[in-house]
């Protein structure tokens, strides 16, 4: 029974969400929030492999997201749509539904290859130097895209909405929601299986004492390569999903700010805690969305109290004051994050009776 409780619960949740979206019981806005939660779960849990479990400090996660987003989008547009640059579709558009997971994986694979390029310097350096290298990688990726006019450069790239339409033509379902949920489950499950195997725990050994790991027989270079590739590959999948939800991407969406959001989620949830990453991604997304409503309230409230000059409006930019502030407070009062390096089942051992997740 315990073995099936998690899959069963997930299947129920999945069915309920899809049904509710399909019938219109939850509106498009709520659906998009759910999808962004999924994407943020993939981003934070995948970054947690490198920054949490392995204890490196990689700050350019959005670069891999960008690569996955562009590769998946370009492939889809090239294969299944009529585009003014790429010409007529190479394959019948209705096939896009079946090819979608493959295209996502191709984006992930491209991102994983890029991850390899960051992993190699990590053989020799760590700490601040690696942080700088990853930030540089983030800039290299975004500025490369900006300078590639064939894929839209700084203006961005679009046409992915047509893919969604052709999927809906085959069968009228909220496809993006379905893909995001499947992608999220796939990512969390991959990470869980990796870090709970004796093999994957090699990266935790690297975190706790790299020299001891190497001397006790862990091939540290290979483990680092693997950790970086899984981490960036999953970020690439998140990017592919992100691109198709929005239908439009531009390099600006994958800058340092996005990478910082990923970092915030990892440290908010707790380094080396998968449940922490999931919880923090949910909270963080809800917080971001919540501020959309709260900031105008604050604005009206302060004006009503005559605390603000009439000419000044509290705008959404204040989000970027409030969120870092929360982070500062968190680091002050709970530096280990919400979950520390524990999992839900460590904190509530009774849960173990109900589920068995592997």
């Amino acid at each position: 029974m315990q073995r099936f409780s998690v899959p069963l619960l997930l299947a129920l949740l999945f069915g309920a969400l899809v049904a509710a979206s399909h019938t219109g019981a939850i509106d498009l806005y709520i659906q998009s929030v759910i999808m962004f939660i999924g994407i943020n779960i993939i981003l934070s849990s995948s970054l947690n492999i490198v920054n949490g479990y392995m204890g490196e400090f990689a700050c350019g996660h959005a670069a891999f997201m960008a690569i996955g987003a562009y590769v998946a989008s370009i492939l889809n547009v090239l294969l299944f749509t009529k585009d003014k640059y790429f010409g007529p579709p190479l394959l019948p558009p209705e096939l896009s539904l079946y090819f979608f997971p493959l295209v996502l994986l191709a984006g992930g694979a491209a991102a994983a290859l890029a991850g390899m390029l960051v992993a190699i310097p990590s053989f020799k350096t760590r700490g601040d130097y690696l942080a700088i290298i990853t930030i540089a990688a983030n800039f290299i990726v975004t500025s490369t895209i900006i300078n590639m006019n064939a894929i839209g450069g700084a203006r961005g790239f679009m046409g992915m909405k047509k893919i969604i339409f052709s999927m809906e033509d085959v069968l009228e379902l909220p496809w993006m929601l379905i893909w995001v949920i499947l992608g999220t489950v796939f990512s969390v499950w991959t990470i869980r299986r990796f870090v709970s195997s004796t093999y994957g725990k090699g990266i935790i050994a690297i975190h706790q004492d790299e020299i001891a790991a190497e001397i006790m027989g862990v091939n540290t270079n290979r483990m680092k390569l693997m950790a970086f590739m899984i981490s960036s590959g999953l970020a690439g999948i998140a990017g592919g999903l992100f691109a198709h939800i929005l239908g439009y991407i531009n390099p600006g969406s994958f800058g340092i700010l996005k990478s910082t959001e990923c970092l915030v989620m990892v440290y908010l949830g707790g380094m080396g805690s998968l449940s922490g990453s999931v919880i923090s991604a949910i909270l963080f997304t809800l917080l971001l969305e919540g501020l959309r409503f709260v900031i105008p309230w604050i604005n009206t409230g302060l004006h009503w109290l005559h605390l603000l000059p009439d000419a000044y409006e509290v705008s959404q930019v204040w989000k970027w004051v409030i969120i870092p502030l929360i982070l500062v407070l968190l680091m002050q009062f709970r530096p280990e994050g919400i979950m520390g390096n524990k999992e839900l089942s460590d904190i509530f051992p009774r849960l173990k009776r109900w589920y068995h997740f592997k």
């Binding site: 001891a212 190497e214 006790m216």
Partner: protein, 255 residues
């Protein structure tokens, strides 16, 4: 065929010659000591043997194959395991996991097996668990299996580190000052433990030790270095009466 054959090993750190022209040869089955005053270069010998540094000069052959230039994890896989002068366990991971992770040298499954949880994965993980449990059992550490090393007394940590090295089933075990920081009753236990390991497992032990009682008690052959230079070697009796050794340890004035 010699088990280990070190020939003319020299290590320079910048201008400092930490070790010069060091040679030793094990046929297999010995329990040998390496002693010398602080900073003599003892740990450097172990760091070179385990592949942590690449020697400036000289050769290290293990079972007739040169191991110079190989990665530490490869050397471990060939059968050389070690402990550290200042314990280097993975302190936030259970004792059992410490031992399990040390089985990386013979993992038996791939990343794909881990992700797909194949039959191969289950089999290999079972074997790893069995090996780890057996080693904990035989060193009487089973009750600490789920503890974190950071919460254990120093003496137990030392023992866990030895267990971790043994779990690799090495043919050569390097112990770097295993008695450092132990109280006298723990030291007695350690002497018995090392003797027991040497008799039970088919293993060659090479140990660095400051406490003369330990080395004199255990080792049948001892090598002494000072400032990186070998100044004496012989049986415990010969070493104890060697004027050069006494001079190195006590200084000129005391003679």
């Amino acid at each position: 065929m010699a088990l280990l054959d070190i020939n003319g090993l020299t290590q320079n750190f910048g201008g400092l010659c930490a070790l010069s022209d060091f040679s030793i040869r094990f046929e297999g089955g010995e329990l040998t000591g390496l002693i010398g005053p602080n900073g003599a270069g003892k740990t450097t010998v172990f760091n070179l043997t385990s592949g942590f540094y690449r020697p400036s000069q000289g050769d290290i052959r293990f079972r007739d194959r040169s191991i110079v230039g190989r990665k530490p994890h490869q050397i471990t896989g060939m059968g050389i395991a070690r402990t550290f002068q200042n314990i280097r366990l993975w302190k936030d991971m259970s004792v059992l996991d410490n031992i399990r992770i040390s089985q990386h040298y013979a993992m038996g499954y791939s990343l794909w097996d881990a992700l797909a949880r194949t039959a191969n994965y289950d089999r290999a993980e079972k074997k790893i668990l069995r090996t780890a449990s057996e080693i904990l059992e035989s060193l009487d550490l089973t009750r600490y299996a789920d503890e974190l090393p950071k919460n254990l007394p120093y003496g137990i940590q030392r023992k866990v580190e030895i267990a971790r090295a043994l779990s690799i089933q090495p043919s050569l075990l390097l112990l770097d000052e295993p008695a450092a920081g132990l109280n006298s009753s723990d030291v007695q236990g350690l002497i018995q433990l090392i003797r027991w390991i040497h008799e039970t497992f088919d293993i060659t032990i090479w140990m660095i030790e400051h406490q003369m009682a330990v080395v004199m008690n255990l080792c049948s052959w001892i090598k002494v270095i000072d400032f990186g230079v070998t100044i004496a070697e012989g049986t415990p009796d010969e070493i104890q009466n060697n004027p050069d050794v006494i001079k190195a340890y006590l200084g000129d004035d005391n003679i």
